[in-house]
Amino acid sequence: MPTKNAQNVLKASEAAYSKLPKVSSELLTLTYGVFIQQIFKTTYRIEDVNAKLLEIGQNMGLRIVDDFLSHIVFERCSSFTETCQILVGSGFMYFFGVSGTILSWNEENSQCVFLLKHNLLNNFVEIPAHLEGLKYNNMLCGVIKGALNAINFKVKVEEVESTVYGANDDVFSISLEELLHDETGE
């Protein structure tokens, strides 16, 4: 159940998203596709491409979390569950225009599975047989990982199902590995 805080943040992020200048979604979809093709042509190994996408996503995530927090002001989150609700619901709404929905949590509340409908990055994409194993959404996983890293959560984010392989919607899982502590500078 999303907390009151999370619901308020969702409304604020929807309002903020509607004021942002927009770009054609096909431009984004096609650029992303060609981008992945190019990375593949540098190494020709699928594991390298997946790792590179995750790294790129992490670099993005580190920076956009500050952007999000500066535009949408809200109270501190009280728990990891609340943080994930805000990230999945409002974070995606603010940057992507679609809100994710959390499907389930595990018993200790350290792992959640969420669904992203209408992921436009995957529009028209069909992975050919020789690229089986390519994690097309790995950049999004990296963004979440980088963003949570910046607020001291060390997580593992993976895509569980993807529309490029024929599933109906994209499903991701976020697992909390450990809480990082701020390092004091020397």
């Binding site: 096909e26 979809t29 096609l30 992303y32 596709g33 060609v34 992945i36 093709q37 529009n123 028209f124 994409v125 069909e126 992975i127 050919p128 690229l131």
Partner: protein, 135 residues
Amino acid sequence: MNIRCICIISKDNKPLYFHSVTGSEFELRFTVHAALDVLDEKADAKDVSCFKGLLFLTEEFKVYGYIANTHLRFVLIIDNDDNFEIPDSAVRGVFNSIHKELTKLYLNPFFTDFDTTITSNNFQTKISELCSNPT
């Protein structure tokens, strides 16, 4: 309207895709070859629209043609059923759907065989669905 065959040919007359529903594939391919000549004549005409209409009739089939602006040719073969008058708009609809599916295929960033036969499973499923359900 019973669709018997859908064929897509590139501008250099290379066959990109051939899908036949039932019946003798050999005969259908022969008919498509014959249709290409008629389509060539119509291509030179001053008519600007993509839909080239009924190309010719045989005892069993009605053959329709369509040339996209990129000079890609589509040939559609339908059962010749004298009882039914098939409206042009229905055939145009089928060609538009084929063109849309092809465009979606081209937008796939991993699609590279522009001049060779199309092997995508997704595309084949969509075309089979279109054949069984032309509206």
